[in-house]
């Protein structure tokens, strides 16, 4: 029970000014160059939309229905040529080093044309986030530089993240639930590495990825303290692909089943074993695993919010175009007041989605957030203007030293307070819920406004609707995200509050 005194103070505790206006806190400290750079990134995405995505999106979607085993090799090749797979990899690792919050606007832009293809481009960064948040900078450097080489050679090297299992979806995203989950992906320590057995499902871009950031468990009954994260190369003995899921939408982006049968993964490809805690400060192991999950989702959930916002925008733009050129009841649809009200509502939904993911990314940019260090002016400008050879030949070799790893862990893991972790994760959930709900809502409204034209594949609106629904499910269902929001932004300041404890 919350005491009368506690109840009284609740309004004071929640929605505190500083906790909900990160932009005001962050903006004065941000390098001005970020704006110009963001515009450059979005302009490239617009061009990619015009030249690659829009001319092919519907045709590819149709093709996937005719051939459910379709894999988007051509799109991957194109995205690779255009540099999208290295765009947000820091220069430290050989990438182009665009500021990371800019990725959300690029995601929105691409999703406004086709969220399936936007995933073909950006699911890769889910894998990047999974690797980066392990803070094994030596292995990250090796893999990310392979991605960069892949761009130069024209042989795409992209990364997927494998977390969901056949019997456990929500459970594997919450450390509080995971010990009660029906897990199957087991990693057994053997001499020189691990033997992995089990399977993962719904792994976006699995079939076409070169690397998989795999999360497995050394004790299936006590996974909350026994999580092992690997980098596994496609083609590794014992690692095969199973079913290619037949999804309702986002069909350009395959969802794969990954099967591991006595798959030996050498120690050098272990990103992190939670039982080995050297260099990870004093937090309990379970808290460190939770922090790892929160690091990843703090980045990826605002991105999914941006996917949703992009869909909301695409649906709005499609409806607007239709309303401007279609007569209903003797006059243009756009001149019916009810249609204007619908279009205004859709416009509002886009803006709300964008504001939410933007604010969540500002949260990530404040001290302790995953973006903060790279956004500090000296670091930002050094990264931006220092010659590449300094990163490639002077700094890169240092990443293999244990001391460097410890510095990174100190900077990112130890220095992040629980409050910051909760703030970033809670806002990431908020952005994800808002953006994805707006995506579905606007897609539904576009179909309604367009009537029978909205039902036809070639008009685009129905595809937005099919595509949008997945956004409310992946990266944690919106139901799970609501509980995560409660946990991190509401319950965290109420001692009596418990989640997953019914």
């Amino acid at each position: 029970m919350i005491s009368p005194e506690g109840s009284k103070s609740l309004p004071d505790r929640e929605s505190r000014f500083d906790e909900s206006l990160f932009s005001l806190q962050a903006m004065p400290k941000l390098p001005r160059g970020m704006l110009k750079e963001t515009r450059k990134a979005v302009a490239l995405a617009k061009k990619f939309n015009d030249e690659v995505v829009r001319p092919h999106a519907l045709e590819i979607d149709r093709q996937t229905h005719a051939d459910p085993e379709y894999l988007p090799w051509d799109l991957v090749k194109k995205a690779n040529e255009w540099g999208f797979y290295t765009m947000f990899i820091p220069k430290l690792f050989g990438g182009q080093g665009f500021n990371m919050p800019a990725s959300a606007y690029v995601v929105e832009e691409l999703s406004s044309a086709c969220v399936g293809i936007a995933n073909v481009v950006f699911v890769h960064y889910l894998g990047v986030a999974g690797i980066l948040a392990s803070w094994n900078v030596s292995l990250a450097n090796k893999i990310f530089r392979e991605v960069v080489r892949g761009q130069k050679t024209g042989k795409p090297c992209i990364i997927s993240l494998a977390l969901t299992e056949p019997g456990a979806g929500t459970d594997v995203e919450e450390n509080e639930l995971i010990d009660r989950a029906r897990l199957n992906c087991h990693a057994e320590k053997v001499k020189g590495g691990y033997i992995v057995n089990g399977s993962k499902i719904f792994i976006s871009m699995g079939h076409v990825s070169e690397w998989c950031c795999l999360i497995a468990y050394s004790d299936l009954k006590k996974a909350s303290e026994n999580t092992v994260t690997f980098a596994v190369r496609t083609g590794t003995k014992g690692f095969t692909f199973g079913k290619h899921e037949d999804k309702m939408g986002q069909r350009a982006c395959p969802a794969s089943e990954l099967i591991f049968e006595d798959c030996f993964i050498p120690d050098e490809y272990v990103l992190r074993d939670s039982r080995i805690r050297e260099g990870f400060g004093t937090r309990p192991i379970a808290d460190l695993i939770e922090q790892y999950i929160h690091f990843v989702v703090s980045v990826t959930r605002p991105a999914v919010g941006a996917f949703g916002t992009g869909v909301a925008r695409g649906a709005y733009e499609t409806a607007l175009k239709f309303a401007g050129e279609t007569e209903v009841d003797g006059k243009l649809l756009i001149n019916h007041e009810w249609a204007q009200a619908m279009l205004a509502e859709m416009y509002k939904n886009v803006v709300i989605g964008r504001l939410s993911y933007t604010e969540a990314n500002y949260a990530n940019g404040l001290p302790g957030g995953i973006y903060n260090i790279l956004q500090r002016k000296p670091v930002y400008y050094y990264q931006k203007y220092a010659p590449k050879f300094i990163f490639n030949y002077l700094i890169s070799p240092l990443l293999d030293f244990e001391i460097t790893q410890r510095i990174f862990r100190r900077l990112f893991v130890d220095s992040q307070s629980m409050e910051v972790q909760q703030r970033c994760s809670g806002w990431a959930s908020l952005a994800k819920i808002v953006g994805t709900d707006m995506g579905v809502k606007n897609s539904q409204m576009a179909v309604e406004l367009m009537g029978q034209a909205g039902l036809r594949h070639e008009r685009g609106a129905e595809k937005f609707l099919r595509d949008s629904k997945l956004l409310q499910i992946y990266e944690g269902t919106n139901q799970l995200n609501r509980i995560n929001l409660f946990n991190n932004l509401i319950g965290s300041s109420i001692p009596q509050a418990r989640s997953f404890d019914e």
């Binding site: 979806g169 459970d171 309702m248 249609a339 309604e448 029978q452 036809r456 594949h457 629904k469």
Partner: protein
């Protein structure tokens, strides 16, 4: 619920339920693959043999002579499994109702009497529009004793597949529009590739282009809007029934799944937030059943303002069905989004069905206009 109140409808409910279980459940995914897979002709043929294609047609026209109530219980039961067949039945009945409203009983009698199979008994119709609202009507020119139809008409459900099509056309020099019956095997008719649509994949449609196609007028010249409105009012109850069936199907699948799927060491039904979602669905599905019963009885009994009741039922249940089927996917998580389960299809079908009989927002505005006029 309708069969509890009107027990004489129970045999129709049983017939439809047994048919759906026997003919539709196992191949739902395959049937839904049209136009990339085969059309489910054998199922439609068996629906014809079972009498499901002429339920509301008067007995003197070789139909079952039943009211909207019987149609509703059939559509409800079939839609719980696969709404595509309901779309076919709906389109056919809508065309028949327009013909009856236009006084075309004899023409309908001819069609039904001469039909030798399912396709020849079906009548194609542009079921997703109100012809009064759109710009895509055909032009009809009288030459001698016949009419010649030209132009393009979009999204004719069962177009190119049924024996006949009922299409609205404007007679040159006249206001309003008139319905014409055309033979789909006639000269001058070309059809597009099947439309790849959001939902109801196995209830296909095409665009028809007519170049001097001979058309037989159905009803008085310029009387199309009245015939459509009358049939539309009746058929709104059928839209409500399809949505009701979709909702029940989605709820049942969600309820079953939630008792089998585990999260956090227990069946997901035992987590209260998810149970609340199921609670919302249960309430909506329960309400839907009552709404359909009320609407169907109002239509069959010709209650005062029966048309308004039917329209309100369809509009309300269409909104509820779109919401409920969204949650239906959500309960199943990633599995709900996959074609191996029924939920994603119901999500698409509900949105597709919402568009039957014309632009959804205009139908809502039309309801208020009708009320203001005291209809």
């Amino acid at each position: 619920m309708l069969t509890t109140i009107k027990s004489e409808l129970k045999p129709f409910e049983d017939l439809a339920h047994n048919f759906a279980v026997r003919e539709l459940t196992a191949n739902r995914k395959v049937n839904d693959s049209y136009p990339f897979g085969p059309f489910f002709d054998p199922v439609v043929a068996r629906a014809y043999e079972a009498g499901l294609l002429g339920i509301t047609v008067p007995e003197e026209c070789s139909g079952a002579g039943q009211g909207i109530g019987a149609l509703c219980v059939i559509l409800d039961r079939i839609s719980a499994v696969d709404a595509s067949l309901s779309g076919i039945i709906f389109t056919n009945v809508l065309a028949q109702e327009i013909m009856l409203a236009a006084g075309g009983k004899d023409t309908l009698k001819d069609i039904m009497g001469q039909a030798t199979d399912a396709r020849s008994t079906l009548i194609a119709y542009p079921a997703f529009c109100n012809p009064g609202e759109t710009q895509t009507r055909l032009d009809a020119v009288r030459t001698g004793g016949t009419y010649s139809l030209s132009g393009t008409i979009e999204y004719v459900v069962l177009g190119g597949m049924a024996g006949h099509a009922l299409v609205p056309a404007r007679i040159k020099g006249q206001d309003g529009y008139t319905f014409f019956l055309i033979d789909q095997g006639g000269k001058g008719l070309t059809k597009s590739e099947p439309i790849f649509s959001l939902g109801l994949h196995a209830c296909p449609g095409v665009d028809l282009t007519l170049a001097g196609v001979e058309g037989r007028p159905v009803g008085k010249e310029g009387d199309g809007a009245r015939c459509f409105d009358h049939a539309s009012d009746r058929m709104h109850a059928a839209v409500a029934a399809i949505q009701c069936g979709i909702m029940k199907g989605a709820f049942q699948e969600a309820l079953s799944y939630s008792q089998e799927r585990f999260q956090g060491g227990r069946e997901i039904i035992n987590w209260s937030a998810l149970r609340m979602l199921l609670g919302d669905m249960a309430v909506q599905a329960g309400i839907a059943d009552m709404v359909v019963s009320g609407a169907a009885m109002a239509v069959d009994q010709q209650d005062p303002q029966w048309g308004l009741s039917a329209r309100a039922a369809a509009l309300h249940l269409s909104e509820l069905a779109c919401k409920l089927t969204t949650d239906g996917i959500q309960i199943l998580g990633g599995n709900g989004y996959m074609k191996d389960y029924g939920q994603e299809k119901r999500f698409r079908d509900a949105k597709q069905v919402q568009a039957l009989l014309g632009l959804f927002p205009l139908r809502k505005l039309g309801l208020v206009s009708a009320m203001a006029k005291g209809q």
